[in-house]
Symmetry: C2
């Protein structure tokens, strides 16, 4: 193991997984942490609560389709939604760098407020710290969220079963490529927009149509590849993907080819992947497509009892490849 932290330790791939499982989890170990769901499910005073935390260090602070403020709201709302919770309350912890322009802070907070109103959540507690110039990067935001899981909703990373259909709510890679092209000034002809959006109403629609949905995840850092590898391990199943069925915008595909990325490794901030029992899959797909955030939803594969823990893809030219956990060295500071 490396002796110091590297950027790859934060990129959502193999190195981050090793850091978490090898160093961070063991001293703090408990059943909730061990589950590594998007949010912890807690029974408190008779209520079924979901609790999730996320820090945002995206660079630049503003990008096509969003900014660190809206992203910080959407990210935590989505983590709550991925355990089937109705998001209710957020906290906001700001770490400001000396010299940050107040005008920038105002824009970010206004964006947080708009995103929270749209998502129907309230920011009920906050904290502000300031660090010296050269010890931050303008602004980091932590959001932590509390939601309530309705009675009867049972989704979790470990609940996928062989035979389940894998659904994806839309195109992949939009967020990662939009942020990267803004940061590096890549100047693609089409301006790519981040897909950053709150997914809880999409989840509600999905769960109404397919109440026995087993598993939900938003494929953020590490992209669809990391999400599916984590879920295959957690559920002890194999995943068979039909790569041609995974929607990728032409501009994202072109950018990935130019930069040497696999779109499956690139972060999304407004997409979900679901494992749904086959008898509910048709209704689930229709429900996703009927929602504004799921119009390009598609069926991208199924779960199998063969090769547990392994994600295999049938490639567009008829071959078969292993979809690995991204090594995690490609895209730092994407969220």
């Amino acid at each position: 193991m490396e002796k110091v932290i590297r950027l790859a330790h934060g990129a959502g791939g193999q190195m981050m997984a090793e850091l978490i499982r090898g160093l961070l989890l063991p001293p703090l170990d408990n059943p909730w942490l061990r589950q590594m769901a998007d949010a912890a499910l807690l029974e408190v005073g008779g209520a079924r609560l979901a609790l999730s935390t996320d820090s945002f260090v995206v660079r630049p602070l503003f990008f096509p389709g969003g900014d660190i403020g809206s992203l910080a709201v959407h990210g935590t709302v989505n983590d709550l939604a991925m355990v089937g919770a109705r998001p209710l309350y957020l906290t906001a912890g700001l770490i400001l760098e000396e010299g940050l322009e107040l005008e920038v802070l105002e824009r970010v907070v206004a964006s947080m407020a708009r995103a929270a109103r749209t998502a129907g959540v309230l920011v009920v507690a906050g904290d502000t710290k300031v660090v010296e110039r050269g010890h931050g990067d303008g602004l980091y935001i932590n959001t932590t969220g509390v939601g309530v899981v309705p009675a009867g909703v049972e989704v979790g990373p470990e609940r996928g079963r062989p035979g389940d259909i894998v659904l994806l709510s839309g195109t992949i890679g939009d967020h990662g490529i939009a942020v990267l092209s803004q940061r590096e000034g890549l100047g693609f002809e089409t301006v790519l927009q981040s897909d950053s959006a709150p997914l809880h109403t999409l989840v509600e629609a999905l769960l109404r149509a397919a109440p026995h949905t087993h598993t939900l995840r938003d494929p953020t850092r590490g992209g669809l590849a990391a999400a599916l590898n984590e879920l295959a391990s957690a559920s002890g199943v194999g995943i068979e993907l039909d790569e041609a069925a995974i929607p990728v915008r032409p501009a994202v595909r072109a950018a990935c080819e130019m930069l040497g990325f696999d779109p499956l490794d690139v972060a999304n901030e407004g997409k979900l992947v679901a494992f749904v029992p086959p008898e509910e899959a048709k209704a689930a797909l229709e429900a996703l497509r009927a929602h504004p955030l799921g119009r390009e939803a598609s069926r991208i594969g199924f779960l199998t009892a063969e090769h547990p823990g392994l994600v295999l893809a049938r490639t567009p030219i008829g071959g078969r490849r292993v979809v690995n956990m991204p090594p995690g060295e490609l895209l730092p500071r994407i969220c």
Copy 2:
């Protein structure tokens, strides 16, 4: 108003209050934020929850009496305790700087785990981000906590009443001076220890003895001066202090004299101040003194209907002075 963020905006004094009230609160406004309690009180699914967030950017990471890991646990446990809640669950959001030694991270996480076990709370969700070298300072930690407020407990910053007795659980300034002397290598003869400690059992003992306690606060950034000014405003009362009754260790007093600080402005991380109705004040003081964390508790003043919002101190030499909100330029990165 300044056009950029300055260190003073994070120091817990007047400038931070102006930043929060002037810029951060208005767009996000709601009754919980507006209250500016240590934690938000929420009714969720029939339970009375407390929710609080705090980011820790203390420098150096290790100091006499604690480190950023134990401080991050104690700080949020205490914010929950200050609304009368029993702390239950924490989340931990880590922002790591590229190049941080894994051995340092291990020590900090072990310290968090020890502090959480001692305080009887579980860290149930986490997040890890990495920023490039030169964009962090080793390690920043956000902790957000959830607790349950027992039936009948009603404490809040706005509940102080004229006639209430002001109790303080022990000596002030220990944390701020301990961190500062470690950071600046001041090398005082006595090694000062931070008072960092979890206060929830002290609060339980206090509330058993004085169930009608109106207000609790842990005087952290900005010290006792900031805490009392905030509470005087929130409750719409004046405060009369007997400065000679406020316990200050000789080493802290000496350091403050040397550095030009008022001990009342210096941060504490294991002390509380309470507003208690006069008929329960004796029992409250006895309960505090019977607890290991309150042995040096004392009665330091009372609330009055005169001069609402103003904190006045009778000085040891018989004069009277206004205790102002600290301007907030003295002690950055103390928590």
